[in-house]
């Protein structure tokens, strides 16, 4: 009954080396993640905690925050019901309008555009991002304003057309501003689509329309849901476009937040609204993920 000693010994030695390796590996991982983590903690997690704490506090008499524990701010949410309602309408409608414009563009870029033009056309989609949204929205103010398109229409005899400060102008601004964010994820998922699947579908007797509905659309759904949730979440906090192109007449949550934090200095109430907005965003994200998982069978929703 002799036991070999070599085996366990060398295994033990190996484990020591392994542990050393793993330690070094973990250290390296930590080092690489540290800057991003620090950034997120300082500028996202801590402010979020602060907002969460504020939201259960009270407004100090001179404005700002006063420590307390009350749900009064949340109970007071219906006071801004109109802003919530307007936002909840604007965000999905805006995202949907964006989607309807973006999908054909992405489809053309990914499947129809000649290979050598593709990169240039894609760059053209992104280039507007180089100018700030504020500048571009100002440009639309001028285009839609009295001396823009209405003046041109008046010139050919169509008088008294009002474009600026209408819901239509806001929708136009939204589609214009967020189009690239919708095009890119859809483009990526369409570009990755295996063309032979389309041939297989045609081979099995599917007309181009049913191939599109049964294969192309379903397999690009992760991109669609990514773009949709991306645009919708940004629209939930949108402030600029409704203010400039809608004339600030329709009140959105973004406007409410600016008002509460900067003008009336009711930080706790503003915080409660902000927290509610975050909760809504999370619900939107989860729902979008669920839908694309169920239909296209992939769990991945790539953020570009």
């Amino acid at each position: 009954m002799k036991r070999k000693t070599g085996g366990p010994m060398s295994a033990g030695l190996g484990a020591v080396f392994m542990r050393g390796n793993r330690f070094r590996h973990n250290f390296l991982t930590a080092l690489l993640l540290a800057p991003a983590t620090a950034w997120l903690v300082v500028f996202l997690v801590l402010p979020f905690i602060a907002i969460a704490v504020f939201s259960v506090g009270e407004r100090a008499p001179e404005g700002g925050y006063q420590a307390a524990f009350t749900l009064a701010q949340y109970a007071n949410l219906p006071a801004r019901a109109t802003a919530f309602w307007n936002t909840m309408m604007l965000a999905p409608v805006g995202a949907l309008a964006c989607l309807l414009v973006a999908y054909p563009v992405a489809y053309y870029l990914a499947l129809k555009a000649p290979q050598r033009w593709r990169l240039i056309l894609l760059a053209l989609v992104v280039i507007p991002f180089w100018t700030s949204l504020l500048m571009r929205t100002y440009a639309w103010m001028y285009i839609l304003g009295g001396r823009g398109i209405p003046a041109l229409l008046a010139f050919i005899g169509i008088e008294d057309v009002r474009l600026i400060n209408t819901p239509g102008a806001v929708l136009l601004g939204i589609v214009y501003g967020y189009l690239p964010l919708m095009i890119l994820p859809i483009y990526v998922s369409l570009e990755r689509l295996d063309r032979r699947l389309l041939e297989a579908s045609a081979d099995l007797g599917a007309t181009p329309l049913s191939t599109f509905l049964g294969v192309t659309l379903k397999l690009s759904l992760p991109g669609v849901m990514t773009g949709f949730s991306l645009v919708m979440i940004l629209l939930l906090g949108e402030y600029l476009i409704p203010t400039l192109l809608g004339g600030g007449k329709v009140f959105f949550i973004g406007n409410a937040l600016v008002d509460l934090f900067l003008q009336s200095r009711n930080w706790p109430f503003g915080s409660a609204i902000a927290i509610t907005l975050v909760a809504v965003s999370v619900v939107v994200l989860i729902a979008a993920n669920r839908i694309s998982t169920r239909v296209s069978g992939t769990r991945r929703v790539d953020l570009i």
Binding site: E199, D203, L219, T298
Partner: protein, 378 residues
């Protein structure tokens, strides 16, 4: 009375811009045949298959399916189905939905019971019963192959097209699938058109092999014909293993041509085309046509360099002075150690068949010889 061919190519040429993929293809595939399009990559075999499927349109000529000209008919209106390379199964659908995809496209619509019944039959035919609810990525390569087959057969096509169907499988599975495909074809009795670059696959499965090179059909025939009587040097070299010895025509004896090899040995060979005296030729000697250890009438003597023992046979690389290395194949009889050892001197004779002499291919390019009006008569 000849039956209407299932597939017919009439003078088909396909060009992509300045590149000509196939040139002047004439081919008629009789009903219920298993035909293989065999050739190296870029020979135009896949282009031909895609023209049958409707994914490419011929630049010239006609493609007919069961006597009907298919010009302008899109893939979804053709009575053929394809098993794609790497299968192209729908990743978002399960096995059942993949198989029934074609049935759900039928207009007028089929009842859901009908769809379920026929999809079930197809799944059973490829022995995948019980896998209906599986996702595609949960299946092995062999199982995916079966799903692709069931999906293509569920619409009861007139012709099944197979684009390198076994390329993605490992060797053992490939052999099994070869037998299974052959059985399947006999069972359902429709025409199978197989595209492959694997000569073994083409020879083992099909009733007819159509060898292609440089966008043309080089030879059409039964597998044994292709192997035994290659039409030219390309086919002799591409199909099966062979020894190609260069030499010059020294004279003629009856139908045979006498070829003087590099070392001065003169051997008698059959020929396909008229050969002039002094013309450079290549003589094809199949490894199994050589016999080892023969004493009388052995044209070559050499030294065994390598022995590749394969069980039922053994292959030898034998160095022959002035000629080069010859590959010879000898049957192995269990219990009889008739194997030669590396380093052993050995005499080489002809066991069977007469060698074939072909004109040397010039400039090493594609073979320009055109086989005209090739047709299978069954």
């Amino acid at each position: 009375m000849t039956a209407v061919p299932d597939i017919e190519f009439r003078g088909v040429t396909k060009r992509y811009g300045a590149v000509t993929a196939v040139t002047g293809i004439d081919l008629a595939v009789p009903p219920s045949a298993f035909v293989a399009l065999l050739g190296p990559s870029g020979c135009g075999k896949t282009t031909c298959l895609r023209m049958i499927g409707g994914f490419e349109q011929p630049s010239e000529g006609q493609v007919l399916i069961r006597g009907r000209d298919m010009a302008g008919t899109p893939p979804y209106r053709r009575p053929v189905n394809m098993v794609f390379q790497q299968y192209a199964l729908f990743p978002h659908l399960d096995v059942e939905a993949n198989v029934s995809y074609g049935l759900r496209q039928a207009r007028p619509r089929l009842s859901s019971q009908e769809i379920g019944r026929r999809a079930g039959e197809a799944v059973e035919m490829v022995r995948l019963a019980g896998y209906g609810g599986r996702k595609i990525h949960e299946l092995s390569g062999g199982q995916q192959q079966r799903v692709a087959l069931a999906r293509a057969l569920v619409n009861k096509p007139a012709v099944l097209l197979l684009d390198e169907p076994l390329a993605a499988l490992d060797k053992k599975l490939r052999t099994d699938m070869q037998i299974e495909l052959q059985n399947l074809q006999r069972e359902i009795g429709i025409t199978f058109v197989l595209v492959t670059h694997d000569q073994e696959e083409a020879l083992s499965m099909s009733d007819f092999v159509c060898v292609m090179n440089g966008g043309r059909i080089v030879q059409l025939g039964q597998p044994s014909e292709i192997y035994d009587e290659p039409a030219d040097l390309f086919v002799a070299d591409f199909v099966g293993k062979t020894n190609l010895l260069s030499g010059k025509v020294a004279g003629h004896t009856g139908d045979l041509v006498n070829v003087a090899l590099a070392d001065g040995t003169v051997i008698a060979a059959r020929k396909r085309t008229a050969l002039q005296k002094g013309e450079s030729v290549s003589v094809s000697l199949r490894p199994e046509s050589l016999s080892l250890g023969a004493t009388e009438g052995s044209p070559f003597k050499g030294i065994v360099r390598n022995r590749i023992f394969l069980g039922s046979t053994a292959e030898y690389a034998i160095e022959v002075q002035g000629i080069g290395t010859l590959l010879a194949k000898a049957d192995h009889v269990i219990g009889h150690s008739n194997l030669f050892k590396p380093g052993e001197p050995v005499a080489i004779g002809f066991a069977s068949g007469t060698p074939l002499a072909f004109p040397e291919i010039k400039n090493n390019g594609t073979n320009q010889r055109v086989a005209k009006n090739v047709e299978i008569i069954s």
